[in-house]
């Protein structure tokens, strides 16, 4: 968010730009880059389109802000990777389930996943989000290649589950409880964490 623009009291600016950001995440997720207009985002946020330009500068910059990981999210991911290795499978899964239930982080994840389907620049950003937050800070494996392989496989299961449960809402996965999912899926994540993946 721009630092050097001050059209009103500081508090009001924060509230309005957060509202615009939420509307932008929903709009990009639902209608993609090409289908999203500043005007529609402004209408959903109940502000004047000029204010969106004033705060964010351009549609490109708005997409950039909408798909930038919230700091809280990066911190909770880094913290989760410190879980003892024998409980890491279920800890990572619960991290993801909690993140999607969080209004701000859930709408960020949804925006990145869905916009990444169509925008090359967002696809690059998703790659960074996955590499940095899901894979990059992990401490797994015997060497760098093993570490990235294990993290990548963990990501593949977590992302597939998120698509099925939250984006496409395919039953029965969409309506299982968190505990049921952890019971069913955590052993598989744990296999990726410390199991034999056949690479010697």
């Amino acid at each position: 968010m721009p630092q050097n623009i001050s059209p009103g009291p500081r508090d009001e600016r924060g509230v309005l730009s957060a509202r615009i950001l939420t509307a932008a995440r929903d709009a990009f997720a639902e209608t993609g880059w090409a289908g999203t207009t500043i005007r529609a985002v402004a209408r959903a946020a109940d502000v004047d389109p000029a204010l969106v330009y004033h705060y964010f500068g351009s549609k490109e910059a708005l997409l950039g802000a909408a798909t930038t990981p919230p700091q809280r999210w990066l911190e909770s991911v880094a913290e989760t990777w410190l879980t003892p290795v024998d409980q890491l499978g279920s800890a990572l899964l619960r991290l993801m389930l909690d993140a999607w239930a969080d209004e701000e982080i859930g709408s960020f994840l949804r925006a990145v996943l869905l916009t990444a389907a169509h925008e090359q620049s967002t696809r690059e950003k998703l790659r960074l989000v996955v590499e940095r937050s899901l894979m990059g800070v992990s401490q797994l494996g015997t060497d760098e290649r093993d570490r990235m392989l294990r993290s990548g496989l963990i990501s593949s299961q977590i992302i597939g589950l998120a698509m099925m449960r939250y984006v496409w809402q395919i039953e029965p996965v969409a309506s299982l409880s968190n505990d049921e999912l952890v019971t069913a899926i955590a052993p598989n994540l744990q296999h990726y964490v410390e199991g034999d993946l056949g690479r010697g």
Copy 2:
């Protein structure tokens, strides 16, 4: 594809409509519903836009045709489900890897996965594709709910892998060999096929 339109020799019609369909799948996958025009599809297929209308009728019908499962795909899925249960994990994984390597089926899968990100109607269609081809014909589990749960979990891993490997091309998953992937992932799919998922 329409049956009752005949603007040229039968063979030419088949070739042209297949070329239009391939271009349409690529366009919907890359630029989404809102970003795709009949004109752009026609240009990519090197035909006149009027011919696209003539064969498919409308942009809606073109999307419908582009995201309809090829018969070959449905048949190979049904056949794979007949694999002995103790080899089903690796058989399902190889089915998916082969499908993405196939030009026609790969472009169909890509179009459905990516367009489903933005279009409610395609999301419904994806749900049907997943339910019918990945889940619906399975013979797993002790009852209907157990069968759908196992099939849904299998789908979550297969779809997440497809997103990482083919759509977002995140390393090292994107460049592993098929054999490496089967060694690493098939045991997890096998857990969903016949393992204890904690539901009694």
